[in-house]
Amino acid sequence: MTQPVSPPRDDRTGKVPPAGQAPAWRAVWSRADVRTLSLLGVLAVLVLIGGITKPDQFLDTRNLQLVLTQASVIGVVTVGMTFVITSGGIDLSVGAIVALASVWATTVATQEYGFGGILFTSIAVGVGCGLVNGVLIAYGGMVPFIATLAMLASARGLALQITEGRTQVVTVPSVLDLGERDAYVLGVPPLVLVFGVVTVIGWLLLNRTTFGRRTVAVGGNAEAARLAGIDVRRQRLYLYLLSGLCCGIAAFLLIVLSGSGQNTNGNLYELDAIAAAIIGGTLLTGGRGTIVGSVLGVLIFTTITNIFALNNLQSDVQQIAKGAIIVAAVLVQRRTASTT
């Protein structure tokens, strides 16, 4: 018998043990800590490599600003993706939604409405696409993989139709200025600021709200969540809406960053975002998600790209390294999952 009948405890009226002292509590949390620490360790190693190979260029405020800026667009997308994956779903359409939102928001007609028009259109298109995804998946009973794959194809197609393959250059000065050095707030680029705010809100949403709990419950065991009285379908709808919203925000950031809208924008974002989330420790099967891990995953990828570029290594090497890191991270994750 592995489970003897518990003897009645004599300290039933005793004081509640402070949460931090219970060894089991430690067991739960140290696992998450170990994962986060290992990611920070990887990042530290990368910083070390960058610092040794290119001390002047790498260890430089401008480079920090650069890395964080480059991480912002995909970072915002990854926060949304983390929610979707945590719920046991997948959103393959993020890159295409970013593309569609960015071109829609930079058409001549939209640009006439200035800053507000571009911002509003980016977000509205993102949310709109997310709504379609959500309705198809939650109420149409479509598999997320298929529904978002369909969205990927149609959003890219629509983006191409709008641009006819042309690059739509932004002429609204207030939008362009946001991507310039003058707009930095205490040395922090506005893009990075947005990324930071999205990360914090995402973390709070996932870890401190009923929305986050429902997301985890749906991903951990959808049937159990349903039988516990959670409206699983509505939750799924909200999740794809959220992912679409993040894509809309990212599209605006990309417009600011590149000063243009193009139908090729957001190329393969879906893979980058999924990879960052998985490396971060979010379970592809759902039920566990970590915003901090996802953001660290994004930063690791961006830092690698940065180090490679600074050392003038070519894209083939970069791709190989990226693939190797994904495999290694997932293997490590499996090991930690099986040993605890």
Partner: protein
């Protein structure tokens, strides 16, 4: 043409001829009839001209126009065909899917068009359907992306990727030839494309002529604004000082220029590639780092229509002595800078 190369081969000669005729098409396309055109060939064979002749149906199949340059290809073909009252253009919906493009071309073969102009999404994969058309007696003008076998086309016309790099290298070399220890960087296009390797090879070969110049960095973007911005930003961080930059593609150049602007850098000279309108305008305005761009002219599609029409009417090409149109025409990658930008402005694609 500002930078003349020693023409060492027969291919080189063709270059020159094509450059002349391309120039002719260009001017023909835009404004007044060029005087080149009025010069009769040195013999009495009929050369293609603007006079209406035997009606020709041309089938045109290209890839999806997801890039400014490809879009310009379609535009050039359509506009050129509209110009001739004797040409009917059957243009397919552009597709990047090999199977779909094969299907479209087979449909055109079944419709028994007189001549086919094909810009394959993938040259190797579409060789068979090119052969099929040729065997069916429909001559094929292979545009830019070349088929595997010369039997699959009657005439190939396309850009010169190697020459593009070569001319960019020579332009930069001449500008920097008096500068000691000059440093040059390269922002390449998609690295897994053969054409990117050819462009880089040409660029490197040209720079070998200038021992004072060293290429210190190269990063590959993806022909997109987004990737151009990202890679350029990294390059600028990596290289605090350099004298010249060659960017393979004007589309990604929009992003590269954005990164340069964001970094507040203006201490170098930049040469672009392809020939986008935005690049021409920047060159003309001469208020930034972009001083020149090397052409990869989308007008080749217009020339392809001309060649197709000539084939359909069994004529040769004006300006050449032969009875037949050439089997292969490689376009010259002219360098456009402030001195000649006005001439090219109308060919710039958006």
């Amino acid at each position: 043409m500002p930078e003349h190369m020693p023409f060492a081969s027969r291919r080189g000669l063709l270059f020159g001829a094509a450059a002349v005729s391309a120039g002719a098409f260009l001017t023909g396309c835009t404004s007044n009839e060029s005087s080149d055109k009025d010069e009769p060939a040195a013999n009495d064979q009929p050369a293609a001209d603007d006079k209406p002749g035997k009606p020709v149906t041309i089938g045109f199949a290209g890839p999806q126009a997801d890039h400014g340059w490809l879009n310009a290809i379609n535009d050039n073909a359509k506009k050129r065909a509209e110009k001739y009252s004797d040409v009917t253009l059957e243009i397919t919906e552009g597709s990047n899917d090999t199977a779909q493009q094969i299907g479209q071309i087979e449909t055109l073969i079944n419709k028994k068009v007189d001549v086919l102009v094909i810009l394959p999404a993938d040259g190797k994969a579409l060789t068979q359907v090119g052969l099929k058309a040729m065997r069916a007696g429909i001559p094929v003008i292979n545009l830019d992306r070349i088929f595997n076998s010369p039997q699959a086309y009657r005439c190939w016309i396309g850009g010169d990727n190697y020459g593009m790099g070569l001319n960019a290298g020579h332009y930069i070399g001449e500008k920097l030839k008096d500068k000691k220890n000059a440093r040059v960087i390269e922002l390449a296009g998609l690295d897994n494309l053969e054409l990117t390797k050819q462009r880089t090879q040409g660029f490197d070969d040209a720079l070998k002529n200038y021992p004072n110049i060293k290429k210190v960095a190269r990063q590959a973007a993806e022909f997109t604004v987004e990737s151009g911005q990202a890679k350029m930003a990294q390059l600028l961080q990596a290289q605090p000082e350099f004298d010249a930059l060659w960017n393979h593609d004007d589309d990604q150049g929009v992003g590269a220029l954005r990164a340069i602007e964001q970094a507040g850098r203006d201490d170098f000279l930049m040469v672009g590639g392809a020939g986008a309108l935005s690049a021409f305008q920047a060159i003309k305005a001469d208020n930034g780092v972009l001083k020149a761009t090397v052409l990869y002219p989308p007008t080749m599609a217009a020339s392809a229509i001309d060649l197709a029409r000539a084939l359909g009417q069994s004529k040769g090409v004006g300006g050449l002595a032969e009875y037949e149109i050439p089997a292969s025409i490689t376009l010259y990658s002219a360098v456009v800078d402030k001195t000649n930008v006005d001439q090219y402005m109308s060919t710039g694609f958006k």
